[in-house]
Every structure is written in C-alpha cells, then in structure tokens.
C-alpha cells in the first residue's frame, strides 16, 4: 500500500529534477537566513549559485552533531521563533541536548512522511494504533501520532512505561497495529506472558512499526513469531526530522525506502568524506530539501549503511538503505535513548572524589537494556561506613537517571581493576547481541 502514489512512484528523472529544484531553494534559504551556514559557505568561497546539478551536492559543507551543540538552542533555525510551532530535542555528546524546530508546514510534512511510513506497513484508516513511543521532547511519540491521525487511524497515545497497564489496554481496546521500539515489544511480550496472556493469540495486532534503535533480522523473526505479526523497520533521526526519513515496505521487508523527495541521502567514506557509489558501505548523510525551520545540509549521521537502487516489488522508486549495522562513534542506544559514554564521564566527574576510571557494561536482560556503571573506589571516597559508599552508588544512579531518564546500576570496584590502556580507553563493554 502506498500513501502518496504520485510522489512515491515518481520516475527517477522526474524525482531528480524535483530534488534539484528543492535543493537549490534550500541552499538559497540557509545562506540567507542561517549565519552558521553562510559562514561555512564563505570559508570556501561557495555561493548558492554554484549549485547547478545534483552532483554539486558534494561542494556543500558537512554538518555534524557538535555544530548543533555549538548553536544550542535555536542558532540553526532558519525562521523567526514566532514561526516555530514546535520544538523537539535529543541527546547531545555533552550535557546539552540537540534542539530542532518545526513550522506549521514542517509539521504537515512530517505527518505526511509518517503517513507514508505507516501505510508502507499496511496500516490504514480503520486500524487502531497502539503508540508506545515516548511522547514529549522525543520525536518518536508525536511523530507516530501525527502520522496515524493523518491516515485516519484511531490512535491510543499511550507513550512508554507502565507495562502492565499497556497490556490491559492492548487486550481491552484491541489495537490492530503497534508502534514502539523492538526491545520494548519483546518486553511487553514477556510481561504479557507473566500475566497469563499469549501475545500471539490474545491480541488483535497484525503489524508493528519498530525503530529508534538498531535491531537484527533475528530479532525481527522473534517478534514476528511471538506476536504472530509482521514486523516492519522504520528509521529517522531528530536532526533530520524524527521518524519518517525512511521505512521498509511490508511487501518486501528488504531495505528501507528513503523519502527522497524530502531528503537526499549519500553514503560517504567516514574517514575521507568522499561520496561512495551505490552498494558500498559507509556513513549515511542526509540533506533536507523541504524543511523550513530547521534545514540540514549534508548531516553526518554516524550510522553505517549502504544504498540499494534496485526497483522494489512494492513499486516505489525510492532508493533503499540497508538496516543500520553500526556507528562510526561510540554512541549507545539504550532503551531507545541515545547515550554517549562521554556524557556519563562528565556526570561522574561532578561527584567529588571519583576518579575517571569507570566502565560501562551494557546488557539486555529479559529484553530490557541494562547499563551497569562500574567505578573504582579510591581513598578519597572510601568510607568505613557502608551507608556512605551506598550513598555514592545512589548518587551515580540518580545523576544518570536525571541526565538520560535511564535507570542504571552502579557498582564500586577495587582500584586498578579497570583496564588502563594506551590512548582511548575501552569504556564500554556491550554484551548485547542485537
């Protein structure tokens, strides 16, 4: 099923002509309204008029996460604040979040893209959608919500948490589709079974749109078997728009169609920045060509993928990206939340006496991500009283919960037991098999 036949099946030539027109308009806009981009262009003597063909995309400068951080909160907005009807945020590498904005038209575009995403999974008017993506500053909840409303489905805006209650609602309201992170889906199944409910027989769900964290084919098979549904991969990132950048189609479930009439994708060599041809693996880069409040030029996602131009059985002419297989940086995704080890380090350094010798053990127990922060004891923090040491553990847990909303466990370990290494210390041990 295709939401927008006209655009999703555009012949390549027409699509590319549209992309060029929109790219030029975006480049004009950012040069005129965003000082950061004007400065970047001027540094290489680049002018908007130099962009004459799609190949000239490579002349444009890259944008990286720290650029967003350096322009916190609204420095990269391309419209006055009164035209911004919504802001959303996501984790940055340090304490401050990444902030993005939307005009009324951007919200409309986003709803359109999410309508395409849900329709690609076979969801339609008449379906009841159980939306467990988090509502709030996170783009997942409201993104899926507006998309479901756009297609005319009945939305249950349940957000995350309170799992037992969610299961009661799933049983009583009878949703036919679910949107949430893949690991939360498995967790829901576990809790349902504990409650004596069989996810495969007792729910009316027939399809789920899962994203916000990396997941494997193996996990898809698990979810499909446990719930007796189709499990479809969806993709997006806050910096580009939120969910709605690309989506698998239920017909093939083989690669995610990128909505190329709104975003131009590239794969680049992460070390040299050189664009790579179709089929080669590298870092995903996106340029938005219709966003008004927060356009991005060649945003380096740090996600590793490759592009497949083969025509798909579903009929869409959009190129497909392979499911994300890794990152070029050390960012972790824990229960759908972006976590940078460097942020944990700065949280630990705020606690008096703690030394920078820590390790993060990430694991998945009962389908829920867990994170254990191991910190070395030293004479400064060692106390003869158990309660003082426990206070330190509690403080770490509390500060990290405040920072990310993720509950971790803190374990004090003996000095010199955490590996020291030449150069970059191996801070993270990820035991999850995704």
């Amino acid at each position: 099923m295709i939401w927008n036949e006209e655009f999703e099946t555009l012949p390549r030539e027409a699509l590319e002509s549209l992309q060029l027109k929109r790219l030029k308009a975006t480049v004009d806009r950012v040069y005129a309204t965003v000082p950061f981009y004007k400065k970047k262009f001027d540094e290489t003597g680049l002018k908007p008029s130099h962009i004459k063909t799609l190949k000239d995309l490579r002349l444009l400068p890259f944008t990286v996460k720290t650029d967003l951080r350096d322009n916190y909160p609204f420095g990269l907005f391309s419209v006055p604040m009164e035209s911004v009807v919504r802001v959303h945020a996501s984790s940055g590498t340090t304490g401050k979040p990444i902030v993005v904005g939307y005009t009324r038209r951007d919200i409309d575009t986003w709803a359109e893209l999410m309508a395409r995403t849900l329709t690609a999974a076979g969801i339609h008017k008449g379906d009841i959608v159980h939306n467990s993506y988090g509502y709030g500053l996170f783009t997942g909840g409201l993104g899926a919500h507006y998309g479901a409303e756009r297609i005319g489905a009945s939305v249950i805006p349940i957000s995350g948490g309170n799992t037992k209650r969610q299961i009661m609602i799933m049983k009583d309201f009878g949703p036919t589709a679910i949107t949430c992170t893949p690991s939360y889906a498995l967790h829901l199944a576990d809790v349902a079974r504990d409650m004596g409910i069989d996810p495969a027989k007792d729910f009316k769900i027939r399809v789920g749109c899962f994203g916000a964290e990396p997941w494997s084919e193996k996990m898809r098979e698990q979810i499909e078997k446990i719930f007796n549904i189709d499990a479809v991969d969806i993709f997006g990132l806050t910096e580009v728009i939120g969910p709605g950048v690309s989506s698998e189609c239920i017909e093939a479930k083989k690669g995610l169609h990128i909505f190329e009439d709104h975003f131009i994708p590239e794969i680049i060599d992460p070390t040299t920045g050189e664009p790579l041809p179709y089929g080669e693996k590298g870092e995903l880069v996106f340029t938005s060509i219709t966003k008004e409040a927060f356009p991005v030029i060649r945003y380096r996602t740090r996600d590793l993928s490759c592009l497949n131009p083969e025509l798909c059985v579903c009929g869409r002419t959009f190129v497909r990206m392979e499911r994300i297989t890794g990152r070029t940086d050390d960012m972790l995704i824990i229960r759908g939340v972006n976590v940078f080890p460097s942020q944990i380090e700065s949280a630990l350094m705020q606690i008096d006496g703690l030394e920078p010798h820590y390790q993060l053990i990430v694991d998945r127990k009962n389908n829920l991500d867990t994170i254990e922060v191991q910190v070395e004891v030293n004479e400064k923090i060692f106390s003869d009283e158990v309660k003082r040491l426990e206070e330190i553990e509690k403080r770490v847990v509390h500060d990290i919960k405040e920072m990310f909303g993720v509950s971790c466990k803190c374990t004090l370990v003996e000095p010199k037991t955490i590996q020291r290494s030449e150069g970059k210390a191996k801070r993270v041990i990820d035991k999850r098999e995704l």
Binding site: F382, D384, L389, E390, T411, L412, E414, P415
Partner: protein
Amino acid sequence: MKVEQISVFLENKSGRLAEVMRVLGGAGINIRALSIADTSDFGILRIIVNDKDKALAVLKDKDFTVSKTEVVAVEVADTPGGLSKILDLLDRQGVNVEYMYAFIERSSDNAVIIFRFDENDKAIKVLLGAGITILDGSKVYNI
C-alpha cells in the same frame, strides 16, 4: 582512649578476603579482632591488628583501598545481660551505635566489645561516667 581500626574495601569477587589474609599473614601481622560488613556488591573488612602502620603499608602496597577509623573498646561483664546493660545506658543517653563486634581475647575476666558510635567522644564520657572500663589502643593491640 580510642582504638584505631583498619577498614579494607572488598569487591564482591571470590578470593579477595583470602588475598587480604595472605598479605597480612605474609607480613607477620596478627589480627586481634575482625568483622565484615557486607552488601550485595561489596564488603568492608574491619580489623584490629597488632601493628596497624605496617598493616596499612602492606595493604596499600597491594592496591587495596584502606582507611583508619577510630573505635572504642569497652570491657563488658562476661555474663548474660552484660552487653544489654551497656546498650540500655547508651540508649538512655541518646548515643547511637553504628556497628559493634566482639573481641576474640578477653581482658582479665571480661569480654571486650569494639564499638563505633555516631559520637565517639560523647559515648566515652557516658560510659566512663557510669564506671565502665574503656581500653586504650595500646592495651588492645596486644591483648
């Protein structure tokens, strides 16, 4: 009037306690009393030894995290009710006990209990005021 106890941080890993004992034994340190406070993640070993400075040095050398804590050694009548009497007295005077453990040896006919109070000085005053014997460190390390 106070006794210096050594506290050692122990990760909840097998062999740590044995390692501490090996190190102390190898250095000829004699342990007079000990106690372990444990949580699910770690333990704190508390010991009274005959040569505290040497014990600290050899443990630090082996990368153990150690500290010195002042505790109070109290002579308690070695009869039923002996300890109860003392705890009642402290309770009436509003002194809190953080932890306590018994000594292995005796002082003449009395048992010896090691106490850590929330206010060590106040506790000492209260006990002495009631005629209870408190042992100085020098007496305790070599009982």
